[in-house]
């Protein structure tokens, strides 16, 4: 079966004042893969996914998703087309219950209230439906955030540093969960934890100073001299 390209970005450049955070990036996602985006702090990872998800307007370049040009679409319309984004710093509705949080995600795609228990069970939060989201532990808020992303039934799920701040045990569970998402859902993972990246990703893109340094399988990336010197400190 030939690989189908789900997302295709060409020539993305983004400047904040005098700082060029992303410079001429070409980026492809194959349908059903788990693709990791890595790079040192300040490499432009979050800027790049913000451009893909629509949180930042595209200044230069073009993005196609599922065969359609989405370059000018605002964020909420990209979500409707199947691009879900989970925040780097957990962002749930702290004042609402866990069930209401999930319900808002389900409602957004026109789903029914009855789907809430299943959405929570998928990440193991079924026992906490009535708790206020703000009172949950950080790890549980992360899971809720993931549940909300999945409840949108996305075609592409962008996870922005999902394991940051989690305990070792929580990271293990998170990994199992994400590993089970592909190939139904394409996953774009921004992650600092190399163990997580190497275990989950089928392909890795390395960013450095806003440019793509290398793209390839975990094995190829590990062997890449340029990556070693820039990032892995080899």
């Amino acid at each position: 079966m030939a690989a189908v390209t789900l997302l295709e970005a060409r020539g993305l450049t983004h400047r904040f004042g005098g700082l060029t955070a992303v410079r001429g990036v070409d980026f492809d996602l194959t349908q059903g893969e788990c693709h990791a985006l890595i790079g040192p702090n300040g490499a432009g990872k979050t800027t790049l996914v913000s451009l893909l998800s629509g949180r930042l307007p595209v200044q230069t370049g073009a993005i196609r998703f599922a065969g359609q040009d989405i370059t000018r679409l605002p964020a909420h319309q990209r979500v409707r087309r199947g691009i879900a984004y989970t925040f780097q710093i957990t962002s749930v509705y702290a004042g609402l219950s866990v069930a209401e949080n999930a319900g808002l995600a389900i409602q957004s795609r026109g789903g029914a209230e009855a789907e809430v228990p299943a959405a929570l069970a998928r990440v193991g939060l079924e026992g906490m439906a009535e708790a206020r989201a703000g009172t949950l532990s950080y790890g549980h808020q992360r899971l809720l955030e993931l549940a909300m992303g999945l409840a949108l039934h996305p075609r592409l799920l962008i996870l922005d540093e999902p394991t940051q701040g989690l305990s070792a045990g929580e990271i293990g569970r998170f990994k199992d969960l994400v590993a089970g998402l592909t190939p139904e859902i394409t996953v774009l993972l921004i992650e600092h934890n190399m163990e997580v990246v190497m275990d989950l990703a089928r392909r890795i893109t390395v960013l450095n100073f806003g440019e793509v340094l290398a793209t390839g399988t975990p094995k190829a990336i590990r062997a890449n001299r340029a990556v070693q010197s820039a990032y892995l400190g080899g």
């Binding site: 605002p74 964020a75 749930v92 609402l96 957004s108």
Partner: protein, 309 residues
């Protein structure tokens, strides 16, 4: 269910008061109910969607003047009232489309500017609007079909009917899916956007609904009490619904009514006792804000009455 019963109970109580209340309180309650509709609408924008507007006097005045001027031009009360409601909504829609590009403090200032511009416009066209002095509606203009709204009882019942419709529609709104999204936008705008909600649109719809309520209150004021004047377009009429809402409880359906009731009686009671009654009103408000920052119903909800919508 409990919530619906509570609201129907309040309406039944107000109906009973039509027969029981002494004339003085009867007249005051009619005014309270009309201004409470203004507050109910304000709360849709402020309490539920998180839009702090300082310009709602504009929407109230839009309803008041649309109805008043059309009545002067010979329209009968029914169509004039309807035009007033729509005027409030239309002005909210147009000013909101511009003002909602801002948020927070900027939104407060922009809405305030719109309202001041409206106030000045009314004064500028004094030959038409009679400016600060205002004008009275003719008795013919205050006949709603066979109902003579210059009489106490029909006036009270008309105010109650408007209030009942406004209250029950709001109850339905806040329990609907749209109501839930409004709260979501209030709680976390960016999250809502990234769940696929068009945040700007949600806000604009909420503000327009709020404007329809304000317009309805203004239109009803013109017909029920027969007076239209520029004073209703001033800053104090933007502050009043905010006070009602804060006092009763932002984000509660009944809160603005309770707030309006309390404010009216607070002013009434203290002005009997002393000339410095506004000082006492201010002091009472301060005490409330310090000890019950969520307002009366908001505090009750936080302390166990979780079902309160």
């Amino acid at each position: 269910m409990k919530a619906l019963l509570l609201h129907l109970g309040v309406l039944a109580g107000l109906l009973a008061l039509n027969f029981l209340a002494p004339a003085y309180h009867h007249a005051m309650l009619a005014r309270i109910m009309v201004l409470a509709v203004f507050g109910l609408g304000y709360n849709i924008a402020f309490g539920y969607t998180g839009l702090l507007s300082l310009g709602h006097a504009l929407y109230f005045a839009a309803g008041l003047y649309a109805t008043g001027l059309l009545s002067q031009a010979g329209w009968s009360a029914g169509p004039a009232l309807l035009a007033g409601v729509l005027a409030g909504g239309a002005i909210a829609l147009v000013s909101g489309a511009l003002a909602l590009r801002t948020a927070g403090v900027s939104l407060m200032i922009v809405t305030l500017m719109f309202a001041q511009a409206g106030y000045q416009t009314i004064l500028y066209y004094t030959p038409l609007t009679r400016g600060e002095e205002g004008f009275n509606l003719t008795n013919a203009g205050r006949m709603l079909g066979p109902v003579n709204l210059t009489e106490e009882t029909p006036r009270y019942l008309a105010a109650l009917a408007l209030f009942a419709v406004a209250l029950l529609l709001k109850l339905a709104l806040v329990r609907s899916r749209r109501g839930r999204v409004m709260v979501a936008v209030r709680e976390n705008e960016e999250r809502s956007r990234m769940l696929g909600y068009d945040v700007f649109r949600v806000k604009l719809v909420a503000l327009t609904l709020s404007g329809l309520y304000a317009g309805a209150a203004g239109a009803a004021w013109a017909v029920l009490f027969g007076y239209v004047g520029a004073g209703f377009a001033g800053i104090q009429y933007s502050i009043l619904p905010l006070l009602y809402t804060l006092l009763g409880g932002a984000g509660t359906v009944l809160g603005p009514f309770l707030g309006a009731l309390l404010m009216f009686y607070l002013i009434d009671l203290t002005s009997d006792v002393s000339q410095s009654y506004l000082f006492m009103v201010g002091a009472s408000l301060l005490i409330l804000v310090v000890f019950a920052p969520k307002g009366i119903l908001g505090s009750l909800r936080a302390r166990g009455l979780k079902w309160l919508p």
